[in-house]
């Protein structure tokens, strides 16, 4: 397939410029894709491992919590955790990975101190609740990290997909198209040149014939 153009020398030069540009863009995008892929693979591996760990720990915490809610009455349980000691606050920065903005989330006031995370006195509560809350407090930083990772993985996957489409479009559509068109124009120009040459020779013959007659 070629683009329909007028086979002129000006068009020829313009297309050659475009081809060069397309090839350079293709190379750059390919590099971008490769680098994105490298980062992505690193992140997605970590993501998977972290998720496995977090899910296991959460299940443990839930199991303990279930025990706690079985041992304690619902009202006492709710009363115990009604007023948390401190609110969890996070800070978010943008990180730029190959022009993809990914969030970087950190805890604002240091790490959560798991030892005194309990917002209740120990008198009316059961031990299961303590261990449940302790595991939960431990898993919270991992959970935040997991959120950050999953967001990054999602955004990167999106960008890789987009970049790959662009690379393929350039490689399999635009570049061949431009090449074909350039070839078409150069053939057409050559043909015109030959036509002109033949015409000249013919005229020369005619002129010469008239002279000798």
């Amino acid at each position: 397939m070629e683009i329909r153009v007028n086979p002129t020398r000006m068009e020829f030069n313009r297309l050659k410029g475009r081809l060069k540009m397309a090839q350079r863009g293709h190379k750059l995008l390919k590099d971008k894709r490769d680098e994105l892929m490298r980062v992505f693979l690193e992140l997605v591996r970590e993501n998977k491992n972290l998720r496995t760990r977090v899910e296991a720990e959460l299940s443990r915490s839930f199991a303990n919590f279930l025990l706690a809610s079985a041992v304690m009455s619902g009202e006492t349980l709710e009363e115990a955790i009604m007023y948390p000691k401190a609110a969890v606050t996070l800070n978010m920065e943008k990180k730029n990975v190959m022009s993809v903005n990914v969030p970087k989330i950190t805890f604002l006031q240091g790490e959560e101190q798991s030892s005194d995370a309990y917002p209740y006195g120990f008198a009316n509560t059961s031990g299961e609740l303590d261990s449940s809350i302790a595991t939960l407090a431990e898993v919270l930083p991992s959970l935040v990290r997991l959120a950050e990772l999953e967001k990054a993985v999602y955004l990167l996957a999106d960008e890789i997909d987009k970049t790959r489409r662009r690379v393929n479009a350039l490689e399999h559509v635009l570049v061949p198209q431009l090449k074909d068109t350039i070839k078409y124009i150069s053939m057409k120009l050559d043909e015109n040149e030959r036509g002109a040459l033949v015409r000249l020779m013919k005229i020369k013959d005619i002129v010469r014939g008239e002279d000798s007659a």
Binding site: M37, F40, L41, V44, R45, N47, K48, R51, V54, E55, L58, S59, F62, A63, F65, L66, S69, E78, A80, I81, P84, K85, A86, A87, V88, T89, L90, N91, M92, K94, N101, V102, P103, I105, L108, E112, A117, Y118, P119, Y120, S132, I133, L136, A137, L140, L143, V144, L146, A147, E148, E150, K151, V153, Y154, L155, L156, A157, D158, I160, D161
Partner: protein
Amino acid sequence: MSMYKVAVVGDKNSILGFKALGVTTYPVTDGDEAARALNTIVREKVAVVCITEAVAQQIMPQIGELNKKLLPAVVLIPNNQGTLGLGMKQIKKNAEKAIGADILFGKEGS
């Protein structure tokens, strides 16, 4: 510098524990409530939203919208009945989308 919060959405029994840590909890029972909770969350400064898989299942389109934005970051967590494997599936889907083939889970065990 600005402060962001953590929010948890899920059935009451699963997420009650989070409340003790100072995380904002949104107990919901069905998809409609969850969707409403999510709308509230989006308007506030929340960086991380944890949603139990059972609830997330009912509001997948909305979560998909959020995933495209920078914030909030949505994490699927198991509820107290155990995991549904949705979170893992999401990772797998991302890997397939980016690489074209599933390379993470295929070679598990080897």
